[in-house]
Symmetry: C2
């Protein structure tokens, strides 16, 4: 169940293995945390997950397999970094040193079992903000790094995650350079037509190979019951008997399903302790990408104000200027409490501070808040709370009888990304075909 | 909805105010996190919440109103405190000083809005374990205090909660002395027949005053839909139209309901960040309370091993010895991973270390794990994760349209206790009758 990339990948893998598969999805669309909106002039706006980068091999392979193409993210010119009360071309001094130290620590853990690291108890209890305060040495650097890492990577605040959580994430994604870079990193490429178009093609392939009834949209799963004979997946209207079920949604969503028998306490406890990140993603639209004329890339990171990150989100086939702003954690919560007009004004003020006064007059403003969507509950992904990795991390992947867990949160490599979603779905499908629980 | 003390108190208050009330409860019984089991010889075992103490005025008033009585908890003789590798009659040296300092810090916050304290950002990010390491000065003291406070009060580990969470709890319950004492504190008295008997009488009163259909058991609420005209509460089989609904369950349970329209992002975010505590409560039964003959009260606190607290849980009308053991956080999780036999052996070893070799041969052993119950998901109560109080605490009580929030987690005074449950239910009922949301 779950028609995002993880569920699609699992269903396709099971279909290829000859299983009779049903993919049951709550929404009336597939694609999960990806969503593309088209402006009347044809400009593509990616409202959710949007990037691919080096070593995300499964995603590039899928893009090719389904006849889609990618294009390089627009990042022409200099970045704007806002910290210590001003704008700079470079991050604050301790940044490189601190990132190197984090990568070195991350190399000491196994991304398949970060809770086993010798230092895991200490790293799990330590808030990232506290560690950064010591490691950066100066408050401006710590503040910048906190927003860059907790915000930019996990859409949360540096007080809300542990050092272990960020180390796991850095390790899973191949290190800070790969994770943070545009070109050469996880923000390198975009999909022509948006990643949601790939999900749509995967769904069509599923219907073509398994049968037109393989995909059930608009069907939120309410109950998963299992016994020695099989598993029964219930929605409001239907019931699907099966040999096994792959739950391909984030733990915060899996925890809303009723299980019979109930989940073991440790697995249920995990679903109580892995909240989704908290991001507001806003697209400010302009007649043209005016910042490029000023030599700016539109790519920015800010240690102050409501916006932590900006990016030039234009596409090669459109002359429209698209400046996308991301707000995380505390700042995202503050924005949510505002009226739409006040929120718009606050975001535009922040954009003006980053790329100049022309940002004040967009001719379009599109916001999307995944935290307000009950079938997502937040983005980018679920994040274990401080002190929870050691006790509940071991419950992340082991199947519970006939119930297998997918979703990007369960990925060992590229967790939190589309790549992790696909890998996790294919891993769960392999568990099922291998009969891990002995039911086949 | 929710037939624990909070829901019962809310329904009775609304009934008294002339409202036509339905109390919808998932289980086939009322009482929530209270449950009494009777041994064949008539000995009363309280498997869940069991104590009352000074300043818990609403609970004592209810006990009297419904013609029940209380009896003092058995605590005859000396306590046994296990720390620093041995048994002691006194806690480690820093204990008194550290508790006084915590009480002094707690006095600086408003229990109705702990997130507004000047120091809230710092206190919210700091793990209790980290603060204790500094404050206690010696590791043995920090370890003892961590288990006493995070475990004994919140059924969790000192790495899993923030300093702000424990300060809020200390303030809400009137300070460490009131919270931790047996006589003179929150463990002073028990209810003859168990608190579940009081819940049963409250349910009978509700049926008598509102009508026999007022209570609907075995009816898990699945959907709460509201619009300008009213609210509709759905279970698997029925739908209840109403002017307002009081959701009298913990946030971790409220988060499993589907809301239409969806909850605001901040309220939904709260339900993702307030996991239930994690306790295993075990009753070891003996022909007689042998520890009393050795001058021991059976009351113990241990900084080592699987059991953090013990208590003599005998009743005046039974000669049976009942030694009740509590395990929390890491230790509770370790016990859950064991086979029943191994768990029993581990607990009995710990009891032997506390009260002597006679503890090794009980003639009965009754365990109850509220974390394995899908309509509770853990105990004693929901606890906000580190870094979450500031962002999500403000969403704890404000109604969302016609949906009002009760449950002991929303109490200002005695949160986490039966007293807080009743106060929260009556507060939510008062919101409804006052027409806070303007729907009446």
């Amino acid at each position: 169940m779950g028609g995002g990339f993880s569920g699609l990948a699992a269903a396709l893998a099971l279909g290829r293995a000859g299983w009779d598969v049903r993919l049951v999805e709550a929404r009336d669309r597939v694609g999960g945390r990806t969503l593309t909106r088209w402006l009347p002039d044809g400009t593509q706006l990616d409202l959710g997950a949007q990037w691919l980068g080096p070593t995300q091999d499964r995603m590039y392979a899928l893009v090719a397999e389904y006849g889609l193409t990618t294009f390089p993210s627009a990042a022409l010119g200099a970045p704007v970094l806002r910290w210590g009360g001003g704008l700079h071309p470079e991050p604050p001094e301790p940044t490189g040193r601190v990132l190197a130290r984090l990568d070195a620590l991350a190399a000491r853990l196994d991304p398949a079992a970060p809770w086993l690291a010798a230092e895991a108890p200490e790293w799990d209890r330590l808030p990232l903000s506290g560690w950064l305060a010591d490691a950066a040495g100066d408050p401006a650097g710590a503040r910048y790094l906190g927003r860059l890492l907790a915000g930019g990577l996990l859409a949360t605040g540096p007080d809300e995650i542990s050092l272990l959580q960020i180390l796991f994430y850095l390790r899973s994604g191949g290190g800070s350079a790969l994770l943070l870079r545009m070109a050469g990193g996880a923000q390198q490429d975009r999909v022509v037509g948006g990643p949601a178009a790939l999900a749509e093609l995967m769904a069509q392939r599923l219907a073509a190979t398994v049968g037109p009834g393989a995909l059930r949209l608009g069907a939120p799963v309410t109950v998963i019951a299992q016994d020695a004979g099989g598993v029964l997946v219930r929605t409001d209207r239907d019931a699907y008997p099966a040999d096994a079920v792959v739950v391909a949604v984030a733990p915060a969503l899996a925890g809303r399903i009723r299980y019979d028998p109930p989940l073991p306490a440790l697995r249920d406890g995990l679903t109580q302790r892995m909240p989704m990140g908290s991001a507001v993603k806003v697209h400010a639209l302009y007649p043209e990408p005016f910042w490029r004329a000023d030599g700016l890339s539109g790519v920015g990171t800010s240690a102050t104000g409501p916006v932590t990150e900006t990016v030039d989100n234009g596409t090669p086939d459109s002359t429209r200027g698209v400046l996308t702003a991301f707000s995380y954690g505390d700042e995202a919560r503050d924005l949510r409490r505002m009226s739409p007009d006040a929120r718009r004004a606050a975001v535009l003020d922040a954009l003006v501070a980053m790329v100049g006064p022309d940002a004040a007059r967009p001719d379009g403003f599109v916001e999307h808040d995944w935290s307000a969507d009950p079938y997502t509950r937040g983005c980018f992904c679920g994040v274990l709370t401080p002190g929870s990795w050691r006790g509940y991390g071991p419950a992340l992947r082991p199947p519970v009888g006939r119930v297998h867990w997918a979703g990007t949160e369960t990925a060992v490599g590229w967790t939190g990304y589309l790549e992790g979603a696909v890998r996790a779905g294919e891993r769960a499908a392999a568990e099922v075909t291998a009969g891990t629980s002995g039911y086949r």
